[in-house]
Subunit: 280 residues, 4 copies
Amino acid sequence: MKIIEGYKLLHRNNYTEYQNNLNVRVIDVQGIKIGGNTPVIIAGPCAVQSYEQTIEIAKAVKKAGANLLRGGAFKPRTSPYEFQGLGKEGLEILRQAKNITGLPIVTEVLDPRLVDMVYEYADIFQIGSRNMYNIPLLKEVARTQKPVILKRSMSAGLQEWLCLAEYIALEGNLDIILCERGIRTFPCKEYSRNTLDLNILLPLREKTFLPIIVDPSHATGDAKIVPFASLASIQFNINGLLIEVIKEDDNVEDILCDAVQGIKPSDLDKIVKKINYLYK
Amino acid sequence: MKIIEGYKLLHRNNYTEYQNNLNVRVIDVQGIKIGGNTPVIIAGPCAVQSYEQTIEIAKAVKKAGANLLRGGAFKPRTSPYEFQGLGKEGLEILRQAKNITGLPIVTEVLDPRLVDMVYEYADIFQIGSRNMYNIPLLKEVARTQKPVILKRSMSAGLQEWLCLAEYIALEGNLDIILCERGIRTFPCKEYSRNTLDLNILLPLREKTFLPIIVDPSHATGDAKIVPFASLASIQFNINGLLIEVIKEDDNVEDILCDAVQGIKPSDLDKIVKKINYLYK
Amino acid sequence: MKIIEGYKLLHRNNYTEYQNNLNVRVIDVQGIKIGGNTPVIIAGPCAVQSYEQTIEIAKAVKKAGANLLRGGAFKPRTSPYEFQGLGKEGLEILRQAKNITGLPIVTEVLDPRLVDMVYEYADIFQIGSRNMYNIPLLKEVARTQKPVILKRSMSAGLQEWLCLAEYIALEGNLDIILCERGIRTFPCKEYSRNTLDLNILLPLREKTFLPIIVDPSHATGDAKIVPFASLASIQFNINGLLIEVIKEDDNVEDILCDAVQGIKPSDLDKIVKKINYLYK
Amino acid sequence: MKIIEGYKLLHRNNYTEYQNNLNVRVIDVQGIKIGGNTPVIIAGPCAVQSYEQTIEIAKAVKKAGANLLRGGAFKPRTSPYEFQGLGKEGLEILRQAKNITGLPIVTEVLDPRLVDMVYEYADIFQIGSRNMYNIPLLKEVARTQKPVILKRSMSAGLQEWLCLAEYIALEGNLDIILCERGIRTFPCKEYSRNTLDLNILLPLREKTFLPIIVDPSHATGDAKIVPFASLASIQFNINGLLIEVIKEDDNVEDILCDAVQGIKPSDLDKIVKKINYLYK
């Protein structure tokens, strides 16, 4: 095997089963197949704020058809004066949400020293956009051999993204899910938070066999655009969506993180129904 | 009526029939309704190269379900050493293609002094991305009262785009179709020519009643991505697609303009069938 | 001579006197040498608003050490409801300013049909950033054989810019001055209007022998930054600066175009003194 | 004190001595005053490769007038197959270089678990562009109360950058030096690695009293541009430069990191002389 374009363990060309096709490696998380025949829906609150909020949303996304529950206990907020997450208490709430709904947990880890703690609660680690270049964190997470979602940095190109994912692969962990979540471009902030970059999806698929998902919540920053962006992304044969959901009756001012981009469970329900229709 | 955000004739808020809804103005081009219930397909060669090439593609896109024929007789090429289009001869070929297929013609005009000439052949004027800021051209085209596609500049924000469109509206011509065709961002050239910006579509729809279409050919620059980008765009309830098509058996080296982004008629056929399925 | 990178008449490699050096072609405008030993200062109002305003500024920039007078009679404004310039009346005022101060005139032309008219007044044509891709305008201006400033489009790379300049060269006119004026990037509008891109200056100089100037007014959009940006640009051995100047006692609300980026004559005086000190 | 724009400890308005002026906090590092009357020069190899290489460069930059020595023992490389630094061995070499030259050491830390180790060797911690959003690292470094250079992320705006710096300030450490090092924009890779963004410097100075430096090596990625970019940056009254230096007789192929952007000691000498001339 040669090093091609800065990475090799993740390059199709180095695997007979992935060469000359667009096959995807299937990652099985408690029976949920990421990279299988249908896209998975990962949904939940941006941040775990309380037991009540999390359980209500968890039940609602389960009912709407989500396959996994997302929720942040550690939040890398731009300003230190913003809500930073409940930490271990948030992880405990997520565990209870899993016990009640049966949904496996996707949650972010920010600090290599907390990987072992988060490991006890997460079914899939999330490495956020702002940590894509955080090599010590990548290695520490990889070492656990648990599946990991690696979000694209808002400033990363395709090759850069795969090179960083290769750090995970080199620890013997190929259970990596790549997540497009929007890039930083000139019109950002005029009408959307980031620019959803669907153009990368096919070239990425051609380079690597890893499952690819899209986060339409961060890629748009606007709950009204999320349903459209979700369905648009699905057209690229991606393997899943990562969507932020608020309570059906939430007041924007009660939401401590990214309030304007969370959709309601009833909207998630519609998205899932449309995806099911496309995949029936 | 007040001037809102630099434009007023194009702002929903100034029309009772467009306020508080997402209604679209219907532009009728020889019975083809742009802004009607189903998206229109505008397809054809990037540049008119010859009678044979144009007629073959025109027949093929007609058969595949296209509603209008696109083709450039005047091409604003980056280098003066590239093919610049056949000029009036190209327009004559387009007329013959229309006579044979019945498809109305969409063609670009670059020079205000040639608007009257192009007027004789075009059913819809196209103003290209590189001319979005060309105010004398906008005014001259507008003056003819013929419908016009105004492509977004690769460096334009939402408000800027609408302000430039307002120059057309001020000449008494509201038959304007806005066309998203990709923006210039940092990953351009690594894996796609431009970045398709779907995030703008809903905010744009909320601001104005003009029909909105997407050009997936320029927005991606890669024929393999075009079918995915086409279907993705359609999810945003746009009013049409503008797609570059090559001959079924074309050799890339025989194509004088943007060879790698033109799709084959058989691929257009599949796109149209999928759209029809969604809109049935 | 071969076509190198899409252009050839402007490539150093095709001229023995410009190969393997960084020599610059000198353009003589009524005794002012652009590309000579010292950078030229082109200063004046954004838009010609009145006789009084223009003459006052012209005298002031002359006194401050400017070599040429800039001023717009035709303004390509984003919104049609903004001041569009005085047109021919503005050109007449510029002529009077030249008669009084002796400063040659730099003024923009937007419309190929008005090139002959503007020719009568301009000593150097300016083609604005929004018209860099306007090929009919480039050709029409070039045909007159009068010197032309070609501003970089806010979305243009290096090669693209030179390819468009080559359209002018192909009309037999090598009296082209390239003007960097800022590009469109993600932080635009947070703290500056555009991003001044000094990194392009040396690579551009290595490719071509054309004089290169910088417009710090548009590149920053902020009068407070202009003096710093001017001196910074000068460090790259450029051939001149194009600076917008307001009246010493102007009220921002009386200025009809780009009020916040115009500096006062007393500030221009300081910039010129510092440049003279560097070049003494 | 109020929270203004997401940060407060770093906002001028909250300090009587920094309000309504552009005063800079002086950080004293073993007698070197960062934020004092003259800009400091921080120079050295991108990566510490060997004792011989580091000592030679350290002596050379000292001789050329540098005030501090930079050198990376831990390198966050895009590809895991690239040289990752010598780690602790590299730190030992830096200590010896300090012993020989007397230059205080600036070196990067990537991992919060290694902060205590790096603390023993560094006089100033460097937090790289790819770690600007790495909050656990920021806090851990801040906790030591040692001065820290916080490089701007290639995707960060002004406010974002200051908000992240505020995490350091909240640990009681105001000895923060902000370092502009280029942003990711559309022309990157055509002619420069990043886009040096000088426009941010004055607005940044107006917001905060922290010393500001520029890294022309990463901001350009091209040794030929570095001297120009250095002098240009100095025009903005910044407090220092961070420059990568190679050996006078280095072969590009022997350099394990960022070979094309390191300048020779003789070039550094010229830069320092020109700066001294400006500040005499």
